[in-house]
């Protein structure tokens, strides 16, 4: 699957890189075509799922996370967890105060 340079660091095989590339291209095609099928609220989630799959491929193989020190992956993922927290709470709060917003302010 992979050779090793004398540094002891991992070297990804070309074959693997190409396979991932093809997978990513397929993913892109999938995302685009998915939007032409009406699945209502589901569309966005499917789209996000595919996108995340692509992101995972890039992270694991192109960015070597699969062979890297786990802590590096942990650091990277922490950022997403925190982002999720930020998005989640802010969305929840804004949804709760929408009704007091004057739709066409400042037209009076």
């Amino acid at each position: 699957m992979a050779e090793h340079s004398e540094g002891g660091v991992h070297v990804a095989s070309l074959k693997l890189l190409v396979v991932v590339l093809i997978a990513l291209m397929f993913g892109t095609w999938l995302t685009v075509s998915a939007t032409y099928v009406d699945l209502g609220a589901l569309n966005i989630w499917i789209g996000l799922a595919i996108a995340t799959g692509k992101a995972a491929l890039v992270g694991l193989y192109y960015m070597h996370l699969r062979w890297d020190k786990p802590f590096n992956a942990f650091v990277f993922l922490t950022a997403f967890v925190l982002l999720g927290l930020f998005v989640g709470i802010t969305m929840m709060d804004s949804a709760h105060y929408q009704h007091v917003i004057i739709p066409d302010w400042p037209n009076k």
Binding site: Y97, I101, K108
Partner: protein, 334 residues
């Protein structure tokens, strides 16, 4: 010890306060005030206890274990699970309790009774205006005693915050949305209303009075105040409008230029406009400037005045015009 010096000092200071209030809190004039103050003093008690505990232990240790004559440290365990867990858990329980009380009190504050009396509050740099159900607008907040009052707040420009210490209520007034607050005053009198969210130059002057009327007197006050256009001379009515409708925040009557030109002696005189032309400040020009402020801006001023379209009635505008006339120092009549 300095701590005692400070407390002495503060006891002295407490004398500086009006005597209708405790050392820590302003008078309790709303139904929620008592609950808030109770929690405040509950937390205060806990805080004082722990503070004294910490300082006492500290002082005792300093005296007892002071390094003198090469006195070395005595051996003692460098950790003690039981002890540490104890002083982790005890504070935990206390703060849970505090949260509970705080949340309960907050629920009371944020849910107004159904039958509440409705007053619209309009905030703009840097004054408040209060609109009563009959459409009358006043610069002060007049409310009946022992009756829930619900405030619907909105802002013309930036964020303000309505704060009545004696009622223990505070609510930000955010442009582009309605915020709500409610209270039920418990004793007649006059109280302060502050703007608590920084809003620029005259933020600290964005103050109004809260007048709590005794039973029955509120209605008569509103009745009398509402038809000031009839009861007052046009000039007096105009002056009142000038004061309560936010004119005086930007237009002086002593000739000094503020955000906008002074009203002193402009009526009937030629005004140079920003676009280079000029105009005679007659009734029509003033009316236009009130309804379409951006139409003819006086030279040297920014086009920042909000329109009063639909916010001033014709009689009110006429009254203002009469007031401006009365400010005309010269006798010349074009």
């Amino acid at each position: 010890m300095t701590a005692s010096r400070i407390t002495d000092h503060l006891v002295g200071l407490a004398g500086a306060l009006p005597d209708d209030r405790s050392f820590w809190m302003p008078p309790q004039v709303s139904t929620v005030a008592q609950g808030v103050d109770w929690l405040f003093h509950f937390i205060l008690a806990i805080s004082v206890f722990f503070f004294l505990l910490i300082v006492a232990v500290m002082v005792v240790f300093i005296i007892r274990y002071r390094r003198r004559g090469g006195r070395a440290a005595e051996p003692s365990p460098s950790h003690n699970m039981a002890l540490e867990v104890t002083w982790t858990v005890i504070p935990l329980l206390l703060v849970v309790a505090i949260f509970g009380f705080g949340f309960k009190g907050y629920l009371d504050m944020s849910t107004p009774p159904a039958n509440a009396y409705e007053i619209l509050v309009d905030a703009q740099k840097w004054n408040w205006s209060f609109t009563y159900p009959n459409g009358y607008v006043d610069a002060d907040l007049h409310v009946p005693v022992d009756r829930p009052v619900r405030l619907v707040l909105s802002s013309q420009d930036v964020i303000h915050s309505l704060y009545i210490p004696s009622f223990r209520i505070k609510m930000d007034v955010v442009p582009g949305r309605y915020s709500k607050a409610w209270f039920e005053a418990t004793q007649p009198g006059e109280y302060d209303l502050f703007c608590a969210e920084y809003c620029g130059t005259s933020h600290s002057d964005m103050i109004a009075n809260v007048i709590v009327h005794p039973v029955g007197e509120f209605e008569t006050w509103l009745e009398k105040a509402s038809n000031f256009l009839e009861t007052m001379t046009p000039v007096e009515a105009g002056r009142k409008l000038y004061q309560v409708r936010g004119c005086q925040q930007c237009h002086s009557v002593d000739g000094s230029a503020k955000t906008g030109p002074s009203f002193l002696g402009i009526f009937g005189h030629e005004q140079a406009l920003a676009d280079g032309s000029s105009v005679i400040a007659d009734e029509n020009y003033i009316r236009e400037s009130i309804l379409e402020p951006q139409a003819k801006v006086v030279a040297g001023f920014d086009p920042v005045m909000p329109t009063y379209q639909g916010r001033l009635s014709d009689p009110e505008i006429s009254a203002i015009i009469e007031y401006l006339k009365s400010l005309d120092t010269t006798t010349s009549e074009e």
